[in-house]
């Protein structure tokens, strides 16, 4: 089977973001989605540090230390963008004004619970950032993650063993193996990578999966 690489995952997520959407891309892997948004589709990217209308990375030497994204990487501003302060920025998030956020995850449960901020390791220094706000606030929470941990364990789980970011918040999961909706009946696979069959995916996932390709709504 052909696993999706990071770029393919980003491109797959990007397909589902419609014209006119307001979107927050989480730090790390989700940030990559920006590079694959279809040309000609106007999509407005939000960053929690107070900006709407993030544009492409600046050219080398054109970075501005005052214009960064939530990952503290230099960005540019699109024509039509706007700046605002942190309380207003999180008002947008918490107040359900973002159409989508795309987040990474350690685990997603069949009920849509998300664990993405803390491994639970007692010696780890905790850091949460805006993850909890995004998870409860965005109209649609999309998760983008490897299907399996490095140890081969499924990140789709019956119940999260890692500390929760938010309960019942995830709408759809994009992995290197499949696209899976979180439904009232649990996980529902809507796409798989070429060469993968449901039985294999089911075995790797270790949690009940339905399959309903017609459910794809993008």
């Amino acid at each position: 089977m052909n696993k999706f690489d990071r770029k393919q995952m980003a491109a797959r997520v990007a397909q589902d973001i419609p014209e006119g959407a307001y979107v927050n891309l989480g730090i790390g892997l989700p940030t990559l989605v920006a590079d694959y948004l279809p040309k000609g589709r106007e999509i407005i990217l939000h960053s929690e540090n107070g900006v709407l209308g993030i544009g492409p990375r600046p050219a080398k030497g054109e970075e501005d230390a005052d214009l960064i994204n939530a990952g503290k990487e230099p960005v540019t501003l699109l024509t039509g963008g706007a700046f605002f302060h942190h309380a207003d920025s999180f008002g947008m998030i918490r107040g359900r004004h973002l159409d989508f956020c795309v987040l990474g995850a350690f685990q997603v449960s069949a009920a849509g619970d998300l664990a993405n901020w803390h491994t639970g390791a007692p010696e780890a220094i905790p850091a949460v950032g805006g993850a909890m706000d995004l998870a409860v606030g965005a109209k649609q929470v999309l998760v983008m993650m490897e299907h399996l941990t490095r140890e081969g364990q499924s990140k789709l789980v019956e119940r999260c063993s890692y500390p929760l970011t938010a309960a019942r918040c995830v709408n759809r999961v994009y992995t290197d193996l499949a696209v899976i909706d979180v439904t009232p009946e649990g996980f529902c696979v809507i796409e798989m990578v070429e060469g993968l069959d449901l039985e294999t995916l089911q075995r790797l996932s270790g949690v009940p999966l339905k399959y309903q390709p017609a459910a794809r709504a993008a």
């Binding site: 014209e19 307001y22 709407l52 039509g80 963008g81 998030i93 918490r94 004004h97």
Partner: protein
Amino acid sequence: MINKIFATAQTALADVPDGATVMISGFGGAGMPSELIDGLIAQGATDLTVVNNNAGNGDSGLAALIAAGRVRKILCSFPRQVDSWHFDRLYRAGKLELELVPQGTLAERIRAAGAGVGGFFTPTAFGTRLAEGKETRNIDGRDYVLEYPIHADYALIKADRADRWGNLVYRKTARNFAPVMAAAARCTVVQVRETVELGALDPESIVTPGIFVQRVVRLTPMRKAA
């Protein structure tokens, strides 16, 4: 291409249903979207709940909507004015329900709706009849009243300029309630004096980013707002 600009008030307001909760910006006449209100009167929606600081002045704008019998209930801080005769008449006749809210609490309840805050403790009105029956709490030695957000189906607001993404700037004290109302409504309709090219508004000076705006109509005031 994103284009939130509508050609007419008629198209921008076509789907307002009977029974809707409608926020209307303005403090007296300043910032009141009088031409949008005229459009709403023409559109015909009735049984409305209106949120505004006042309850109409003179015979135009919100006063005209009230006079037309379209308003079932109004949430405001200052209904009684020398020229609020339409409100006065219907209120005294028992045909108009009033929820009186202190002005700062009104602004903050609207802001809370837009910011996803489920409730907040304010010191305003503690120990007064406007807090009767409300939950109170002493926090760090100060007394507070628990207040809840005010959400709306539509916000009808007035701004000075807008671009096709719905970014807005206002003019002087006509700004007043518009920015918080824009965020508190499911569908925000803005009347502006001028629409401008994307990029014409300074990103540092945009007061209402387009994320809070669904529809923009350029409307030339036909008369001095009351």
